[in-house]
Symmetry: C2
Subunit: 413 residues, 2 copies
């Protein structure tokens, strides 16, 4: 394999996670250490920073601060939700990217994001190939949603799952404290796949979790739901329910849209903006049972709560970033770094390279057979899958009793 | 001082905190160790458990599990929001309490709660005295609101403040990640006092916090608020605001009630049930600025997030529980355990005993001079006050990557 010498760009895209910067650090550190990579740039706000020629000089950063990226949530380089057009219809953006790549002699591009970002990688790579510009392009996955195809799990999921399970345990203790009836509805992120809501079942597994868990993998039936809630409530005087924001009825209509009919709010990928589901369900449950009902949205903390991150997830995210660079330098291109479990009794995560084309825009769901027959809980197959991913307390440094995050200089090039 | 021999009851009341059980453990441990106290009972759901004769045998618990109460959120014995009537008008409840006290030879009563609970302690004590029944009654404070009169701070506040400041730092990093304008409104608990919302300023002090903080201590002016938000947003493209749920206008009307006019929901103490403030403000801000606006409620996690508790707070809560028992055994009665800071450069917290009558139903607010002149931020006096209270990571034990909470037998007597 011939050595390809040149600069690299590392970019971050899509919704941040509490460990996406651990992947960025892995990639930056490996790139700084590589003889083939002559210069390391960070793209401001992902591909938008490339288009706008807004790059940061990563060689100018202090290594101690860079290392703190391991424990700093959100996307340190900035993110975007920009979707590249189909190059057959409009190749303006691609020509501009090529121009910037040529300007800085960029021969390596590492993009840290979800399935939309893998699509972006794939399109850029195809364009560079058709333009005869030699460039190695690797995707580094991140998504709390855990819905990327072909990988055992995604960097970011373990930490979000740990936060959700921990918070569920705490809320469940709180929700059972009074001598009065109470129904609590916990709204958890996850548009099409229920991995995050499923993490609430880890709390139930430890004896302090929701009574019922609803995922988008099973069509939601309002009457059945109300009957289940009432049954638990009548038996225990309390009922705690975890729901994925993406639950929908058999016609595909989101339950979050049952209450309000504003379907105009869509993001730039055409996805509906969900939310407010807890309020919709709380109103229905209150009407049906007459009980006191509280809705709680875990909201942004699910993807930002680095203080409750899984050290396993942090370490694996870092490994994914390094693997992208190390493999690219060795000649690999057009791959996303994925994970697989090594066979054997104890958990061990190994890197596996996946075709970008196989990952882009595909979604992996919770297997139906991991969900109970009634469709309102998870069985031991899910618990066995998820528990190893949430192990280990974060080694995050603290200062004055609060997290000490990385402070990058972000010097523009 | 004569030794008073007899049983004790320990009860918990009001909204739970993540450290109220540390106080309960301090009291239970000290009671179990005391020669004067012949039997240790826990009241199920506070004073309601006394009225209903539902007591748990604390002597039958395993000491290792009891010790885990230090790191178990919510009220392990159960809580209540029951308000005793004025005994001059109706002394039925008091006679019943006396009956139960006599039945079990209860000579010590320890009540762990907020200012309403101190009022309960005070009324019971007066009744016992007028009935000629010798009984020592001590209040053990807890409230995330930090609004109890006469004490430097309250057990529960430091942990809630640490969680709020930590979460604000994380959310603030997340809220600034995109290359598009965004205004974020964080709704924080606190009905009449702004101590909890003020904790958001600790995040700003560490460089990743809200731009604006609004407390109920300063009358809220909507026009002024919208102008401030717009100014920050125009300058930075982002604006992050922390608001206390209890902010109100100069006529005393809660801003949370600006949007919806349902004032019928009051709790059993006649307090309005607040909430939904973030949504009310988000709608106003969106209309005024045209920006993308997101509202986030920290909700129950503020009082339940034991995984992010302050070890300082845990240790002090434990100390307060022990001090109540140790002082009662020495002859003290009708006092609440309070805290004062020892003089000197470094922080040291000492126990101080306060008259129940001075604490009951009084509220301590954030001093106006700790708030900036514009009324939208805190100054260094608050930071100096609050920082010592959030020091130290919890020593909470974990099992399978999740918190290991106490599992009590709660054997009914």
């Amino acid at each position: 394999m011939s050595t390809l010498k040149g600069a690299c760009i590392i970019g971050q895209s899509g919704g941040p996670t509490s460990v996406i910067n651990a992947s960025a650090f892995g990639a930056i550190e490996a790139a700084l250490q590589s003889d083939a990579i002559t210069k390391v740039y960070g793209a401001a706000n992902g591909i938008v920073g490339v288009l706008d020629d807004r790059l940061y000089d990563m060689d100018a950063e202090d290594m101690d601060e860079l290392r703190r990226l391991m424990y700093t949530p959100s996307s340190a380089l900035g993110s975007c939700r920009y979707k590249l057009k189909d190059p057959a219809a409009d190749d303006t953006d691609y020509k501009r990217i090529l121009e910037v790549f040529k300007k800085y002699d960029v021969r390596y591009f590492f993009y840290n994001g979800g399935n939309d970002s893998m699509d972006t990688c794939n399109k850029i790579s195809k364009f560079m190939q058709s333009s005869g510009y030699e460039c190695r392009i690797m995707g580094i996955p991140k998504t709390i949603d855990n819905d990327l195809f072909g990988t055992d799990h995604c960097p970011g999921y373990g930490s979000a799952a740990k936060y959700i399970a921990t918070s569920c345990m705490e809320v469940c203790l709180d929700a059972r404290v009074y001598d009065i009836g109470m129904i609590t509805i916990l709204e958890i992120m996850g548009r099409h796949a229920g991995w995050l809501a499923a993490a609430a079942a880890l709390a139930s597994h430890k004896g302090a979790g929701p009574d019922l868990v609803y995922l988008p993998e099973v069509d939601f039936d309002m009457d059945d739901f109300l009957a289940c809630v009432e049954r638990v409530y009548k038996k225990n005087g309390k009922c705690i329910v975890a729901v994925s924001e993406g639950i929908h009825d058999k016609d595909g209509k989101f339950i979050a849209e049952y209450g309000h009919h504003d379907q105009s709010s869509k993001d730039s990928f055409g996805h509906s903006q969900l939310g407010g589901l807890a309020a919709v369900l709380a109103a229905r449950v209150k009407k049906h049972t007459g009980a006191k009902v509280r809705g709680i949205e875990f909201s942004l903390l699910q993807r930002a709560a680095s203080h409750c991150a899984s050290q396993t997830d942090i370490d694996e995210s870092y490994m994914a970033g390094r693997a992208a660079v190390e493999n690219a330098v060795k000649g690999v291109t057009d791959k996303m770094v994925g994970f697989e479990r090594a066979s054997g009794a104890s958990y061990k995560c190994e890197v596996k390279l996946l075709e970008l084309t196989s990952v882009a825009n595909a979604e992996k769901k919770v297997p139906r057979e991991w969900i109970n027959e009634e469709g309102n809980g998870l069985n031991s197959q899910f618990i066995d899958y998820a528990l190893p991913l949430i192990q280990g307390q974060t080694k995050q440094e603290s200062e004055d009793g609060l997290p000490r995050f990385a402070k990058l200089k972000k010097i523009p090039v």
